[in-house]
């Protein structure tokens, strides 16, 4: 199957791999949001952590850990790059279809981009609820 250069680059040189601490470490940290998601279709698991500036509400840093296929790794790597410098609302507006487009994912790998979008939403909502804001549901425009 012919994959594009961007996806292979993200897979071979994944950006921002790691975390700001274990789940237990970051549980009490209000500047960190954690999104832990899985895909029961394939058994891949992905964790995304965001570090937010409490003053400005801007996502200053993002890290991911993904045990999955190359497309899931590339999707989460791209997600961390896109999140940096965005506000929480801008982060929530990232759609899996944008990831599909950027990485030229084939139809059988669309669920990997959905997983990355789920992780973004989960991490942002974890930050929001930790800081007394209500969680935001997936918007109607989100493609699934």
């Amino acid at each position: 199957m012919a994959y594009g250069q961007k996806i292979i680059d993200h897979y071979e040189n994944p950006r921002n791999v790691g975390n700001f601490g274990t789940q237990a470490d970051v549980k009490g940290r209000r500047d960190i949001g954690v999104g832990l998601v899985g895909a029961p279709e394939c058994g891949d698991v992905m964790q995304l952590q965001i570090k937010v500036n409490p003053g400005t509400g801007v996502i200053e840093d993002a890290k991911f850990k993904c045990f999955g296929c190359g497309s899931a790794i590339a999707s989460s790597s791209l997600a961390t790059e896109w999140l940096k410098g965005k506000s929480l609302d801008e982060g929530l507006s990232i759609k899996n279809t944008q990831i599909v487009e950027e990485l030229s994912l084939p139809p059988v790998k669309i669920h990997c981009s959905v997983l990355a979008e789920d992780a973004i939403r989960a991490a942002i909502n974890d930050y929001r609820t930790k800081n007394g804001m209500e969680a935001r549901e997936r918007t109607a425009a989100s493609a699934h």
């Binding site: 199957m1 994959y3 292979i8 897979y11 071979e12 274990t22 789940q23 832990l36 998601v37 899985g38 029961p40 279709e41 394939c42 058994g43 891949d44 698991v45 964790q47 850990k65 045990f67 999955g68 296929c69 190359g70 497309s71 790794i73 790998k109």
Partner: protein
């Protein structure tokens, strides 16, 4: 399609026997140029592969029984966190002995899931059991994926990019 009784516990030799009984008539050597026979042969091969793999057999049986489909993504509480932590431990594992211990751990989980599912299918008609089968199968998938990736030759790029 193979005329076997509907159930999770299957005798592998019965699968073989039922398959061989039917495969002869549609074998390409016998039915060359017969499109219908070729389709039937492919379907028989597929059925055999599904039945021989306990996890795929369980999924197929749940679908056949009209149980909850893959839109039901439920997992036991805390499961994802446990699997993530386990994955990180395995990633940090050094040396063949530590790896072998994780392989044994994973094989034991596989046996547990298979036994749990077998038990649940025996009392499938009871209230709440179909949903429990679905949840158990969802969790089992993560174990199978972990086993697949424990293989030192596993390369996520190969699974994807070749």
């Amino acid at each position: 399609m193979l005329g076997l009784p509907r159930g999770f516990d299957l005798d592998p030799s019965e699968v073989d026997r039922a398959y061989l009984e039917r495969a002869g008539a549609v074998h390409p050597d016998v039915a060359a140029g017969d499109d219908d026979a070729a389709r039937k042969a492919a379907a028989l091969n597929h059925a055999k592969r599904v039945l021989e793999d306990p996890e795929r057999r369980a999924r197929a049986l749940l679908a056949l029984l009209g149980g909850p489909g893959k839109e039901d993504r439920s997992l036991p509480p805390g499961f994802l966190m446990e699997i993530m932590e386990t994955r990180e431990h395995i990633e940090a594992a050094r040396g063949p002995e530590e790896r072998a211990r994780w392989e044994a751990w994973a094989a034991e989980r596989r046996r547990e899931y298979q036994a749990n599912v077998a038990g649940l299918f025996l009392r499938y008609a009871e209230t709440g059991v179909p949903a429990r089968v679905r949840m158990t199968l969802n969790a089992w998938r993560y174990i199978e994926r972990l086993i697949e990736q424990l293989d030192p030759d596993y390369d996520p790029a190969r699974a994807d990019f070749d």
